[in-house]
Symmetry: C2
Subunit: 276 residues, 2 copies
């Protein structure tokens, strides 16, 4: 590891890193924080993403492979005291590893291409934990990209990064485009754009999902506004068979994305039969 252990939580270096918990500083430095062995390992798998790594003595020993990978990649590794790590990390029980990473998102046109078969769009998702969970689920469902529009939470928010469980580093993510621009690009790329919303006339089970599809997910509390619903090709709802009023946003997204993944892989061109 480089230099001596960082022990002073008030040192300029610690403060500079700590600032990245705030969006304004992330945007200025085009950098963010990834915590814990899983996220750090995934970040190191991408060339040039990790700028520097902080590790407690204990974590450095336990995850010697990660420290070795960082060193091999020419990434400076700093030893940090437990107190400094607690100051830098945003979790109650930091796992002793924290990386400063360069932004990994790409431009909309690079994230969404004519090859795309499944894309998730977070149109008004405000809760970073939900956003990260949708990102993780989209990755699991084999999505080609995830679009964070300008009205959604910052994908580099610490809670989002943690909830994504490394998926932020797995598939193309784009952020900051207005929803209308994102929908246009998706349509131009040959995807059918479906809004997931309780206002839909047809349910997931009634729609042919075998073709290239983009799902647009709205706000946790109020769904999607009328002007966004109008932009899409169809509004589709997740069927509610019981008495729940609605589904949690991340849950609804999982049901939609996996229904698409399944239909696309089954190669079926006909919707499931509709039964009462």
């Amino acid at each position: 590891m480089a230099g001596s252990e960082l022990t002073n939580i008030k040192s300029p270096r610690v403060k500079a890193v700590r600032r990245l918990t705030k969006r304004a500083f992330r945007d200025r430095d085009r950098s963010f924080l990834a915590e814990g062995p899983q996220a750090v390992r995934e970040a190191l798998a991408l060339d040039g993403v990790v700028v520097e790594l902080f590790a407690t003595a204990e974590a450095g020993t336990r995850h010697a492979d990660i420290v070795a990978a960082a060193t091999a990649a020419g990434v400076p590794v700093h030893r940090a005291s437990g107190e400094v790590m607690a100051e830098l990390a945003q979790t109650v029980t930091p796992q002793g590893l924290l990386a400063v990473c360069r932004f990994v998102h790409v431009a909309l046109d690079r994230a969404v291409t004519a090859d795309a078969r499944l894309v998730a769009v977070l149109a008004h998702v405000r809760d970073p934990g939900n956003a990260g969970t949708v990102l993780r689920t989209a990755d699991a469902a084999g999505a080609d990209a995830v679009v964070f529009t300008d009205a959604s939470v910052d994908p580099y928010n610490g809670k989002c990064v943690r909830a994504s469980a490394g998926s932020l580093f797995h598939l193309p993510v784009t952020t900051g485009a207005p929803v209308a621009q994102a929908v246009r690009r998706l349509k131009d790329s040959g995807l059918r754009v479906l809004a997931a919303d309780g206002a839909g006339e047809r349910t997931l089970d009634d729609v042919d999902l075998s073709g290239p599809t983009a799902w647009v997910f709205g706000n946790e509390a109020w769904g999607l506004p009328e002007e966004i619903l109008r932009l899409t090709d169809e509004v589709v709802r997740v069927p509610i068979y019981g008495r729940a009023e609605s589904l949690n946003l991340a849950t609804a997204a999982a049901v939609c994305l996996y229904a698409s993944a399944r239909s696309q892989r089954a190669g079926s061109r006909t919707p499931a039969p509709r039964l009462p």
Copy 2:
């Protein structure tokens, strides 16, 4: 509303209610707290569940229908100051309504009957938010019951009640049975018992889900232990098409429960074709 406004957070009455945030006191009184208009409305829809209702002046005005329903049902309604409500409620922004409710769970044999077609079993779920989300999703998917085993979180934990978004009051919930006893009851009732676990050889897409099915969900971090996997009829995994290592527990449960709901309603007896 009965009596004068409660303003003293140290009064015995306020303290007695506040104690219900702790499991030992809930178990002793066989009572729990339901917060917010949605949960209180659902609780009032069940006979004899709400013991007493607390409302701030503002919430009492905004939700006059709920206060009227409580009064009509003979439920004492107490006006509480904002400070008292903040003391009683477990949310940062309490919505001004809080009900003391009697336990609503039923015995295992009453929750799981020969009529059941879809049951969710929380075998080792420790996070109350996840448990409540699974309960809400099971309700949405039309499940007949939700089983909390003795190794899972208390369904009356405040976070679980909130995450269930009223679903705790919608379908039969049972709690406290050892997992082996629950699985035996499910099998005796004619359900096929599937463990949702990454160790499964077959995926969701390869299994016939059209018959009566119980899904067993494990721990957020380590899944299901071998001795529980052995009790079940089959271990089934959610397919991971992308690069995510796994899914969040509540997300995986949503995919499983909705796959079952869809298969059962489509009436298909053949599994989806398996493609590479």
